[in-house]
């Protein structure tokens, strides 16, 4: 490992968290008035903004529309000032195209697309500040935005990353831990049915450890789902109080 101690002997991580501890999560729904649904999500220092438009008629060529379900269209982009080094383009590079594809796959598994044949749902996510776990922050923000837009889903989609260091699984990695050379796994989970919408890991890991790592990631996702649920409930309460007046 590149000289970086991810887990101290006392069991604390770089930013002082315990191995299974998540970063502080703050979120808000209905950030924007013009979009059909929107949400803002902070996971530690990672900040993401998600906006949902639709379901609406398929834009552009008709051939893209599906006769039995809705098309989900995702775009992932990063603000040019979101990273430590300034980015030249907000989107269109390989990494963000891949991320857009992953988001699309994740939400195709979660949204009840068959209810909206021949239509399209747009999900646009933007990273305003990046500090590790961009994918998971985006998924969580997009989930809230979809809820805000009133689009039926099977369940919340909760995503979280998990890493592995010194024989212990670490939940919700920050940027330093992600680039520190360890293994990182991102998981998107539908917590109630315990089914996995997307899992991705591209580093070497002994197969014996995979179960521990998955277990840790799933635990973290379930933790997140509680937070998301409370955000949704609180938002609904606020809205209903407002509309009662």
């Amino acid at each position: 490992m590149a000289g970086l101690e991810l887990l101290s002997d006392q069991g604390y991580r770089l930013d002082g968290r315990k191995a299974s501890e998540l970063r502080k999560v703050q979120a808000r729904m209905g950030v924007f008035g013009q979009a059909d649904g929107s949400a803002y999500m902070e996971q530690g220092n990672t900040k993401a903004l998600a906006v949902v438009y639709g379901p609406h008629e398929v834009r552009g060529s008709r051939s893209k529309s599906l006769h039995d379900r809705a098309v989900i269209n995702c775009q992932y982009s990063m603000a040019t000032f979101s990273t430590a080094e300034r980015k030249r383009r907000p989107h269109g590079d390989r990494k963000s195209s891949e991320m857009s594809l992953h988001l699309k796959q994740t939400f195709e598994a979660a949204v009840l697309t068959q209810l909206y044949p021949r239509s399209q749902i747009d999900i646009y996510v933007k990273i305003l500040q990046s500090d590790g776990g961009n994918y998971s922050a985006c998924v969580n923000a997009a989930t809230l935005a979809l809820v805000d837009a009133g689009i039926p889903m099977r369940d919340y989609v909760c995503a979280c990353t998990a890493g592995f260091a010194e024989g212990t699984a670490l939940a919700d990695l920050c940027h330093a831990e992600e680039t520190g050379g360890g293994t990182a796994l991102s998981l998107a989970l539908l917590p109630r049915s315990q089914s996995i919408a997307l899992v991705q890991m591209d580093a070497r890991l002994h197969q014996d450890h995979l179960d521990t790592l998955m277990e840790a990631a799933m635990e973290a996702c379930k933790g997140l789902s509680k937070v998301l649920d409370s955000v949704v409930r609180q938002h609904l309460q606020e809205v209903s109080v407002l509309s009662r007046d």
Binding site: Q26, R28, V31, F32, G33, Q34, A35, S38, Y40, E42, N45, K47, L49, V51, Y53, R59, N73, Q75, S77, A79, T80, F81, S82, T83, A84, R86, P90, G92, D122, Y124, K126, L128, Q129, S130
Partner: protein, 291 residues
């Protein structure tokens, strides 16, 4: 560009209202919408600001980088503008859809802000001919509801006010080689003087009158608008006619007059607000998008 389509009846309604100095949302012709300004919202940047004006939402981040100065002005730093019309604002901007508007907006911003008299570009020079600070001003459009230029200019001014560039020293060793040393103290930094930075006032010609801070609906009623960039002292740094229509000379004079008046009146409360905000220091509550 982000726009709406409205019916003839709506147009008549809006135009008659403007004639009687009463707009659809209850404002007079020279009133701005409610504005929310917050600085220091993105910690990865050297300076940032977020401005919300009605349903228009703009986020500006400024990053300073050390670069080689331009050869024709070796003793000055410079500004680079980039406007990201993100798909968040409207689905039309997806993919490369927002690029055209982005280039258009950033070209205009460059003309408005990159002048010697509004910002002391020489203070950005570290070592003439070799190193200078380049300020990358990145504007992110999150929501469009008309009057992008005004919102952007206010956000840029606020972000420049908020910008802190780390102090550097140039050390020279025996062989004449130069080395740049960054100050150890994170609070030891260079601030920019924003006293003379212009604000943009866009005036939309609706019927025989013109309105400040037009919403998309009002913009749809007007064929031409005039952009005026005004410094606090009342000097004009940039004027542009925008849109497909034409204006007669008298109304141009009238509109620049209004622009100057409104622009001058805009600066004082803005600076006051920014200074008050800063004097709160650590006590200031950061809300960002969570409010």
């Amino acid at each position: 560009m982000a726009s709406v389509q409205i019916s003839e009846a709506e147009k008549v309604y809006i135009m008659h209202g403007v004639r009687d100095d009463l707009r659809v949302d209850g404002r007079g012709c020279e009133d701005y919408r409610h504005m929310e300004i917050e600085t220091d919202v993105v910690s990865n940047t050297d300076g940032s600001a977020k401005v919300r004006m009605g349903h228009t939402d703009v986020l500006v981040g400024i990053k300073a980088e050390l670069r080689r100065p331009r050869p024709n002005v070796p003793d000055e730093g410079y500004l680079e503008f980039f406007v990201d019309c993100s798909a968040n604002a409207t689905p039309e901007f997806e993919g490369r859809g927002g690029e055209e508007l982005g280039v258009e907006l950033s070209n205009t911003l460059y003309k408005v802000f990159n002048s010697h008299r509004s910002l002391d570009l020489r203070s950005l020079c570290v070592c003439p001919g070799e190193h200078c600070w380049v300020l990358y001003v990145d504007v992110l459009l999150l929501q469009c509801d008309g009057n992008l230029f005004d919102a952007m200019s206010i956000a840029i001014k606020a972000a420049l006010f908020n910008t802190r560039i780390p102090k550097v020293r140039v050390l020279e060793d025996e062989e004449g080689g130069k080395e740049i040393e960054l100050s150890d103290d994170p609070y030891d930094c260079l601030r920019l003087r924003v006293d003379n930075i212009p604000c943009i006032v866009t005036l939309c010609k609706v019927g025989h009158r013109h309105v400040v801070d037009a919403t998309l609906q009002e913009k749809a009623c007007s064929a031409a608008s005039l952009l005026v960039a005004v410094t606090p002292r009342g000097a004009v740094t940039c004027v542009r006619k925008l849109g497909a229509g034409s204006l007669d000379p008298d109304s141009i004079f009238e509109m620049t007059e209004t622009g100057k008046r409104v622009g001058k009146a805009l600066h004082a409360p803005l600076m006051e607000l920014l200074q008050k905000d800063e004097s709160l220091g650590k006590k200031r509550q950061k809300v960002g998008f969570l409010a």
